[in-house]
Amino acid sequence: MARVRRIETPGELPESEAIRLAQAGNAAAFERLYRLHNRRVYSLCLRMVGNTAEAEDLTQEAFLQLFRKIATFRGESAFSTWLHRLAVNVVLMRLRKKSATESSLDEMTEPDEESGGPRRDFGMPDLRLSGSIDRVNLQRAVDQLPPGYKAVFVLHDVQGYEHNEIAEIMDCSIGNSKSQLHKARMRLRELLHESMRDKAREDRKAAGNAGGED
């Protein structure tokens, strides 16, 4: 068994060394790996499930699976990619359980127009998304995305992963990743437009009710 060095300052341990020591069962090394990646994993889970309590559970589950399997990590891919793959799988499995049907990643997207998806009008004069987009409204819209779209959108646009990394994380093709992202953004655009129209309607109603009082 490898001799375990006592870690006095876990904050300074390089990741590669932390992986090696964690494979030998070192507690401080586990903690170091957790601290390096917890924020990103938690953020991913939170964006996917939309509530903090479930995100906490999923974060813990993802790291638990990681640490159970860490002895098998051989460095073929980046550690963070491996971790995020585990995290995405944990999240998607939870979402699949909720929808109570087994479905592939490709099926967890919006139905196309032929099968009754929302009608999309092309080329119509429409409301531009004026100014910058409110963070709260954007998150509300993201919450309404189907899981597959949501996963790719969160990984690419929120967390900054490239399509080749997303393809590895989600076990799909790069083309599939790009296509899903595009559809996610288009759907978000529609949702944000709806939200703008609702707000404009409410404002007009409020102005009417106020009757000009100041």
Partner: protein, 291 residues
């Protein structure tokens, strides 16, 4: 270059001010002192107000200017407003050693651009802020604080002063010892309200991924919800009661270990998008459906 116009009556005045501005002084009564000052500012200006006793009313307007109107009755205090870069500092100075609390009183009416950041310290009196969207830090001892249509990162601390917040957004942190809070029509994504001996009323929106933590030692915590809301709830009172009209589903996840002590209601309402944590030492917690 600025033009200063003033009527030298019974007041003291600091004239070594750095910034140009229009200076206008009037006096309407023998013992009443008024000053009015204007300062041109850039976007995201900072305005600080330090007033031991009196009313502080801050409103937003569309001009890129900070206007300060101050009134004080006693000549044992003086009021100052100075500009340094994009920061305007307003303060009440005591200029006599023997001074009663009433002498120390000064009232302010301040207009600021809506993106201004405010820092207000007013021990006793009242603080009222409307339509300002920049970050805010308010500290009082006994003064009540009233915020309307504010946004940004709002931190409020009082000792005994009450707090009311209507139609505010952004992030809110408020604490007090004996002040009570009314949080109405809020659209904040993070609310942390803590008082010891006061009541807390929350009647606002639970935004997805929002966190709402309300805590007291004694008194009532009352939260209103609508059927369309969605939150994970953890409500615990160590020695008091917890009453809920929300039909909750038991959550799939574990909850903090301390929930086994005292009276607690834990569960998920609809999809559990927001997180609501209510905690009292021996007060009552009521979770009530809006009518």
């Amino acid at each position: 270059m600025s033009t200063a116009q003033f009527v030298p009556l019974r007041f003291n005045w600091k004239t070594g001010l750095l910034a140009p501005g229009l200076l206008l002084v009037t006096s309407s009564a023998v013992f009443a002192h008024n000053i009015e000052k204007h300062f041109k500012v850039e976007p995201r200006s900072v305005v600080t107000i330090h007033n031991p006793n009196g009313k502080v009313v801050v409103k937003a307007w569309t001009k890129s200017e900070v206007m300060v109107i101050a009134t004080h009755a006693s000549d044992k205090v003086e009021v100052d407003a100075e500009q340094t870069g994009n920061r305007v500092d307003v303060m009440t100075h005591q200029i006599s050693n023997s001074i009663s609390p009433d002498d120390l009183r000064a009232d302010y009416q301040i207009n600021v651009p809506e993106d201004a950041e405010l820092q207000i310290h007013d021990d006793s009196g009242e603080v009222s802020v409307a339509n300002v969207l920049g970050d805010m830090n308010v500290e009082t001892v006994g003064a009540g604080v009233d915020l309307e249509d504010a946004a940004g990162y709002l931190t409020v601390r009082t000792v005994g002063g009450s707090f009311q917040c209507i139609r505010c957004a952004g992030r809110l942190e408020v604490s007090s010892i004996s002040g009570s809070f009314k949080l109405l029509s809020l659209r904040s994504y993070h609310v942390h309200a803590q008082t010891s001996k006061g009541n807390i009323l929350f009647d606002g929106e639970f935004l997805p991924n929002g966190i709402y933590r309300l805590k007291n030692y004694s008194g009532v915590i009352e939260v209103h919800f609508s059927p369309g809301d969605s939150f994970d709830l953890s409500a615990t009172s160590l020695k008091g009661k917890v009453n809920s009209q929300a039909s909750l589903t038991p959550p799939a996840h574990a909850h903090p270990v301390y929930s086994k002590f005292g009276n607690a209601i834990l569960g998920t309402f609809n999809a559990g998008h927001a997180k609501v944590e209510l905690s009292s030492f021996d007060g009552t917690i009521n979770i009530l459906k809006r009518e």
